[in-house]
Amino acid sequence: MCLGIPGRITEIRDEAGLLMGKVDFGGVRKDACLAYLPEVQLGDYVIVHVGFAISRVDEAEALKTLEILAEMGVMEPELMTMGEGMDGLAIVSDDAPGALTFNPDLPSPTMGGAVS
């Protein structure tokens, strides 16, 4: 759970009084809480850690990190989560609730490539 992933903010909204947004991690879009960085703008790159933006980063730096993480194969396990009931491995994009992207090539989150 120490891996922070940079992504681009594609949506900013108020959710029951909490500053939330959507962040694009190289195609997978996840909800993230933006409350700790209220100054961020649409299109900014932030490092997201367990669903919270913790640092604003330079775009070039963020893209660089994304490519390296993708190449090291550590990003997908971090984004990996499971649907309710944990019936299968899935990367769940928050764009399409209920629509799971199943990737059998991913390491199991409980077998070395853990969600951490």
Partner: protein, 388 residues
Amino acid sequence: MKYLDEYRDPVLAKKILAEIHRITTKPWTLMEVCGGQTHTIVKQGIDEALPDGVRMIHGPGCPVCVTPLEQVDKALAIAARPDVIFTSYGDMLRVPGSSTDLLALKARGADVRIVYSPLDALKVALANPARQVVFFAVGFETTAPANAMTVAEAARRGIDNFSVLVSHVLVPPAMTALLDSPANQVQGFLAAGHVCAIMGWTEYEPIAAKYKVPIVVTGFEPLDLLEGIHMAIRQLEEGRYEVENQYTRAVTREGVPLAQQQVLAVFEIGPRKWRGIGEIPMSGYRLRPEYARFDAEQKFQVDDIQTNEHPACIAGAILTGEKTPLDCTAYGTLCNPQKPLGAPMVSSEGTCAAFYGAGRGLGTGAGFSSPIQLISVAPGPGSREAQR
């Protein structure tokens, strides 16, 4: 390091490595206190490529690994209750408690769910008002702002069927506990980049000054780590002991003040047990009294659970850097990622899992494949690997 190609360029990695070799005149022992960094160091073989006598000790930087067994047993006791939906980061599910683990408990019918963020656990609580939803709030300073905000949100929105089992640890007290130990060998630290992204580095300045140790705030990519090691060794060689920042693209001296304020609004600092190390004073967070109704330990009355470690497991000595997985008789035999004895083998950030994943000490064909290997150095006759 401005362009992507440079970051991925093994030539640049070799350049920094050559520079480390050039400036190193004495043996030095450094410690990283971050499981993510341990993973990269071992996977890329950075530790084996360093000059002879320069040693990386992998410190207690994996939050899953330092969570004490009794917190796992408390989680198991709570998760076994029929009225509970137990939510957790995925890593904690296979951490063995004294009799079972959360995944096995789930297979026997307990409602255990992996969440990516504590806010997802709060959503589960909102969707299941008749059930008790518990989140296993583990981690270092990196996850504390997320967990604090989630508890504050539960309070603000009156979500009373939500609670947290807290096992939060802090990096600086662990560093000073190691430095105070008579067995300490660490002469310099790489500080964890994302812990510092939130906390800044002001709390490391008195540690560097008091113990005369360089501390370099360092990122997670191979070149970050090489640069961090280079900066630490340069300080040691020049007789300096300062806090320096390698990870400038994500970390400022002050950190993120809003996150720090939220953490201290919900949590207070108190003693905390570390798996394999024991209790360290003022080394973790616990809920403030005004948030006591969100404390799962009180809600489910599991305070009295106390447990001991598996006798064959030397996780404690591995977490403090006294021993490596190669010193363990159970490593790769009794204990592997499929059947872990101790937490450092469970989490991908754990030292044992990192060694196993890189195939160290396992013979050919073992371990997992490495997608990239920036630095590949065959152990020579004088290397540490050959001496083992």
